[in-house]
Structures are given as structure tokens and as C-alpha cells.
């Protein structure tokens, strides 16, 4: 093995790639820009929708309740919603978003409150629609408030203490370390991003350096040189790996910067009083992130080698795209399963390609180190990487692959 030849091929491919706008776009620009654009646009849209929904005074209807004038007056006097005259098609109006919610005050409601007989108030809304949910919440608050006042009055009438119906309070407190909470929240998302960018970063160089070269006729020129096939494969492969690793690192850096900028902008928007906002953003264990990066290296190697081998078999760039693109789905599916709550790591899961990796990363980011599972995942990906690379070298030596017409 002449490593000078490997380095020569690699240096040439790197120079070539950096002069290719499409390569720069897929390896550098997309990973760098996608995260800030995604995070900021989602945060902006989310904040805008929420604030718009909160600013709106929801329009509601009251069904029945003619014999409960005090309650109706109370509803009409509330500034939290605007009561409009009731129509028969109130259900359609909710569905058409013309009104946000409706409340049915049962017949004899006020009488029932006086006589202490049970009664049911029904609130109708458009489930899942944020403005309708907010309107229903306001109506709910109104009637809970009325219920609390009624209870207090009844207890007072009987000279009974308030603790009679509320003997104790329930407090809920998080005892998990912030990085564990953050790891649990981000643990599913980060491996997803890393694996996805590992694949997409490798895709363009792999296709360009194999099928693209065949199509442009430069592969034959290269094969005429005394450089051994293995040296050429390794030189090209290291370039594909560079694309993959560059995409991972740049996407993580970009994610970190975007998160920090978002935290500071939220803090700033709250006039300095938002010191705690940065704390609300999930934090992850720094060692966990380092562990993920170490673990991801054999993954990047094996994914790069698989993409490289598939693309090598194609005779044109277009054909290579046909072979390589379905890999995205194959990689995304198990990663998405790993993001689901309740999926827990065990030996079988650890051995499942991609899914095992996703779950191990999730645990490491939470500060949990199951060394035997980490070992299983690391070793299995090293094996995949060696197998895929050996296959790539074998394919490169086959003239029916290189001169496929």
C-alpha cells in the first residue's frame, strides 16, 4: 500500500469537491444553514401563532341557561371572551371557526346551585385547534371559579373549614439533573440529525467520485495510472467520509449556535427578566456529546462505504441517485422509532442497525453509560464499516462494474 498515492487522490478529490458548487452546498451550506433556518422559523412561527391566539378575545355562544340570569350576566361581563347570540347551527359555526366554543348551561342551573343538587355544564370546542382550545380553557376557568366560590359559600354556611374539601396539596418536583432532562428531550432528536447528515453529507461526493467520474470519462484516465485500485478507492473513500463528517460537525456547530442565539433572543425579549429562559432550554451532558461523536465515527465510515459501493455500481449520476436515495428512508425510519417515548434499550435493540445507535446516543446524552450496549453498537458498526469498505474495494476491481455500459 502506497499511502502517498492515497493522499494524492484524497487531496485532488478535496480540491475538486471544494470547487464544485453542488458539493459545497450539500456538505457545508445545507448543514450550516438548515438548523438555524429550521429552529428560528419554527420558533418564530410558533411564537406568532401562540401570541395571536392569546391576543384574540374568543367568540363563544351560550346554549340554554335562560333561567340562570346571574351566570349568563357573569359570562357576558367577562373580558376573557365575547358572547354572541346563540344560533341553532352553533356546531357548524365551531367547525367553520366562526365561533371558538360554546357552553351549555343546563336548565334550572341556578336553582340547582341553591338547592345543592348536582348539575352538568358542557363545553363544546374544536379539539386540536389552538384558538378553540384557548376559548374552552377560559370557559372552563370561569365555571371552575364559580364552583370554588359556591363550595366556599356552602362551607361557610355550615361553619366548616376550607381544608374539609382540600385536606392536602400535591406538589410535583423534578429531581433529575438538567442534562438528564435535556438528554431525554434532545436524545432522540440529536442522533436523528447526526445520522441523517452523516448520510446526506456522504451522498453527493460518493455519487460524484464514482458514477459521476464514469459518466465524465475520468475514471478510465485514473485507472491507467500505476496507482493500485485499493489506493484509489481509499483516497476517494476518505473524501466521502470527509463529506459525511463535515456535515455532522457543521450541523452540530450550527445547532449549538442557533440554540444559544435563540436562548439569548428569548432572554432579551423578556427584558433581562428572562434569565431563567436559558435554563428552560434543554442542556445535555458534554461527555455524552463527545461519546456520541466517538460512536458516530464508525457509523459515518460504514454509511459512507455503503453509499460509495452503491454509487460505484451505477453507470451514471442519475442511476446512482436511484440506488442511494432509498437509503434515506431506510435510515430515517429506525431513527424515528428511536425518538418515540417509551422505547428502551436492550441487547436486541442495540444490535438493530441505526435504532440501537439512536437509543445508545439518547442514553449517553442523558448521562447514562451502559458500556455493554455501547460496546455492542461500536463493535457492530466497526464490523459493518470493514465489510462495506472491503466490498467497495472488491467492486472497484471488477471490470464489469467499472466498465458497465
Amino acid at each position: 500500500m502506497n499511502w502517498t498515492n492515497v493522499a494524492t487522490v484524497y487531496a485532488k478529490e478535496l480540491k475538486d469537491m471544494l470547487r464544485d458548487r453542488r458539493a459545497v452546498l450539500s456538505m457545508i451550506v445545507v448543514p450550516m444553514l438548515l438548523m438555524p433556518v429550521l429552529i428560528f422559523s419554527m420558533a418564530r412561527i410558533g411564537a406568532k401563532v401562540a401570541s395571536k391566539a392569546r391576543e384574540e378575545v374568543p367568540v363563544v355562544m351560550i346554549i340554554d341557561g335562560a333561567d340562570a340570569p346571574a351566570v349568563i350576566e357573569g359570562l357576558k361581563a367577562s373580558k376573557k371572551f365575547q358572547v354572541v347570540p346563540t344560533t341553532d347551527n352553533w356546531k357548524e359555526q365551531i367547525s367553520d371557526k366562526k365561533i371558538r366554543a360554546a357552553v351549555r348551561v343546563p336548565s334550572g342551573f341556578e336553582q340547582a346551585l341553591h338547592t345543592e343538587t348536582p348539575a352538568n355544564v358542557a363545553i363544546y370546542n374544536y379539539q386540536g385547534e389552538i384558538k378553540s382550545e384557548l376559548a374552552a380553557n377560559e370557559l372552563d376557568h370561569f365555571f371552575r371559579d364559580l364552583r370554588d366560590k359556591t363550595i366556599t359559600a356552602r362551607l361557610a354556611q355550615r361553619s366548616l373549614p376550607a381544608t374539609l374539601i382540600k385536606p392536602f396539596d400535591i406538589l410535583r418536583e423534578n429531581v433529575a439533573a438538567p442534562e438528564k432532562v435535556g438528554g431525554n428531550m434532545l436524545g432522540g432528536f440529536l442522533p436523528y440529525i447526526i445520522i441523517l447528515f452523516s448520510l446526506t453529507g456522504a451522498m453527493y461526493p460518493a455519487m460524484d467520485l464514482t458514477a459521476g467520474e464514469k459518466e465524465r470519462g475520468t475514471m478510465e484516465t485514473l485507472l491507467c495510472t500505476p496507482a493500485a485500485r485499493t489506493e484509489i478507492v481509499l483516497g476517494k473513500f476518505f473524501m466521502v467520509l470527509t463529506g459525511s463528517v463535515a456535515a455532522i460537525v457543521l450541523s452540530l456547530v450550527s445547532l449549538g449556535i442557533s440554540g444559544a442565539l435563540l436562548a439569548s433572543s428569548v432572554s432579551g425579549a423578556m427584558g433581562g427578566g428572562g434569565r431563567g429562559m436559558a435554563g428552560l432550554l434543554p442542556t445535555i451532558a458534554p461527555l455524552g456529546l463527545l461519546g456520541v461523536l466517538v460512536l458516530i465515527l464508525p457509523v459515518a465510515v460504514s454509511l459512507s462505504a455503503i453509499v460509495f459501493t452503491l454509487a460505484l455500481f451505477a453507470k451514471s449520476y442519475k442511476e446512482a441517485q436511484t440506488y442511494v436515495t432509498p437509503l434515506i428512508i431506510l435510515v430515517i425510519m429506525p431513527t424515528a422509532i428511536g425518538m418515540m417515548p417509551g422505547i428502551e434499550l436492550n441487547a436486541r435493540m442495540a444490535l438493530t442497525p441505526i435504532l440501537g445507535l439512536s437509543l445508545v446516543c439518547k442514553e449517553m446524552l442523558s448521562g447514562v453509560w451502559h458500556w455493554h450496549y455501547i460496546g455492542i453498537v461500536w463493535v457492530s458498526y466497526c464490523v459493518y464499516a470493514v465489510l462495506a469498505l472491503t466490498l467497495a474495494v472488491r467492486m472497484f476491481k471488477r471490470e464489469d462494474v467499472i466498465f458497465r455500459t
Binding site: N5, D16, G217, T218, T221, L223, C224, A227, A228, F403
Partner: protein, 245 residues
């Protein structure tokens, strides 16, 4: 020196079945000689040359170049061969200088030697004006000069040209033929494959006519003229391959 002994190449294609692309081709080309391999499209010229350049392995037969077997000592063969074909393109995103340097490095030359070779080749091929331009900005003739330079950067003792004048204008083609003659005068072994009869007449010392993968005739131009009773190379070719004139 090139010695081809019964070179045979069989391809198996799902649609077309078994294809005998080259069928027992034998010939010898000595140093200081230009061997013209003449044949129509699909005659088996390029496959023969690819076997000599070690890109393809012969199904049967063997070839020895510069004393090295093309299968068992393929890397040694590639060290002493320069191969230029229509299918050997240059890197569009590299400059002419970078492309030549890259192939010099892969051929084991050190940087001072490469620098010297780039200057010599640029002088000989009149390339100085576009040496630092990217190859995708060059004309067809300029690109062909870059290809020739990368083929010869390591001063190969054997040079294989497969239809090198395709796409070139008359002046560029003449200049190329002149360059090949000069290279021959340095005692190199040259194979020149073409289907342009006039180029064969002007350039080649020995001519081999291949058709359907087989070597049908071989000899100097005067020997072929005597054997087939024709003076015009095109008429000789048509007689050999059994077509109608």
C-alpha cells in the same frame, strides 16, 4: 516493445448473449515504430487497447509490454505506458497544470521533476497560454493537448493512442500527428488506433486491420498495397473486411 499473443476478450451480456469482442489478436510493435490499428467502429480496437493498458483482463491469450505481463504485472505495465483514448477525459474542475501535476504524482514523479515536465510539455504542445485555466473552460483542441500532456508526463516508453484526433479541427489534428512523429523519433513504441485511412497512410510503419474482433491483415503500407493490388488505403481496407466499394 509490445507483444500481443492471441488476445481474446469475451463479454457476456444479458440481452445480447456472448460477444467475442476480440478474437485471438496477435501482433508485435517495436521501439521507434508506430503500429496502426485500423478498423471500423465496433471492430474491437478499443477493447484490444484497453487490454494492453491493463484496464481489462484478456479472456484468453496474453500481452507483454516492456517485458511485463499485462495481467500479472499490471502496475509495472502502467508505469511504462501512456494511454490516450476518447474515453479518457480530464478533470473539468482542475486547471491544465493541476491535471498534469496530478497524473505526474500518481506516476511517482517528484514535484521538481513534474515542474520540469510541465514546462517541456507546455513548450512542445504550445500550452503556456492556458496552463492555469480550468479544463472546463478550454476548447476541444486545448483539452486534447492537456490529455496528451498527462499521457506523456511520466515519459512512457510505450504510448497507446486510441482515435486521438476525434473532434479536432484540421490544424489541431496536424499538430498532433506531428507531435506523435517527433515522439516516435525518440525511440518510443507507439500504437495508433483509428478508422481514418489518411492518418494511417501518413503516420504508421506497420498496419493491422481488425474486423469483428479478428486481425484480418497486417504489414507495411507497401506490403498491403502489393498484396491487395490497390494503392489507396481505403480500397485496401474495404477489400480486407470484405465490403463493397
Amino acid at each position: 516493445m509490445i507483444e500481443a499473443h492471441g488476445l481474446t476478450k469475451v463479454f457476456r451480456d444479458k440481452k445480447r448473449g456472448v460477444i467475442n469482442a476480440v478474437d485471438g489478436v496477435s501482433f508485435t510493435c517495436r521501439p521507434g515504430q508506430i503500429y496502426g490499428l485500423l478498423g471500423a467502429n465496433g471492430a474491437g480496437k478499443t477493447t484490444t487497447l484497453r487490454m494492453l493498458a491493463t484496464l481489462l483482463k484478456p479472456t484468453a491469450g496474453h500481452a507483454v509490454i516492456g517485458g511485463f505481463d499485462t495481467v500479472r504485472q499490471s502496475q509495472d505495465v502502467r508505469r511504462c505506458v501512456g494511454f490516450l483514448a476518447a474515453s479518457t477525459a480530464i478533470y473539468a474542475r482542475l486547471t491544465a497544470r493541476e491535471a498534469i501535476t496530478y497524473f505526474g504524482q500518481l506516476n511517482g514523479l517528484d514535484l521538481p521533476k513534474i515542474k520540469e515536465r510541465v514546462k517541456t510539455l507546455a513548450d512542445g504542445l504550445e500550452m503556456h497560454a492556458f496552463l492555469d485555466q480550468r479544463c472546463d473552460k478550454l476548447s476541444t483542441g486545448m483539452k486534447q493537448k492537456v490529455s496528451i500532456a498527462r499521457t506523456l508526463v511520466h515519459e512512457p516508453s510505450v504510448v497507446i493512442f486510441d482515435e486521438p484526433t476525434v473532434g479536432l479541427d484540421v490544424l489541431a489534428a496536424r499538430a498532433l500527428l506531428g507531435f506523435i512523429r517527433e515522439y516516435k523519433s525518440q525511440g518510443r513504441t507507439i500504437i495508433y488506433s483509428t478508422h481514418v485511412m489518411s492518418e494511417v497512410e501518413k503516420l504508421c510503419d506497420v498496419i493491422g486491420i481488425v474486423h469483428d474482433g479478428r486481425m484480418l491483415a497486417e504489414g507495411t503500407l507497401s506490403e498491403l498495397r502489393v498484396k491487395y493490388g490497390e494503392t489507396d488505403m481505403e480500397e485496401i481496407f474495404v477489400k480486407v473486411v470484405g465490403g463493397t466499394s
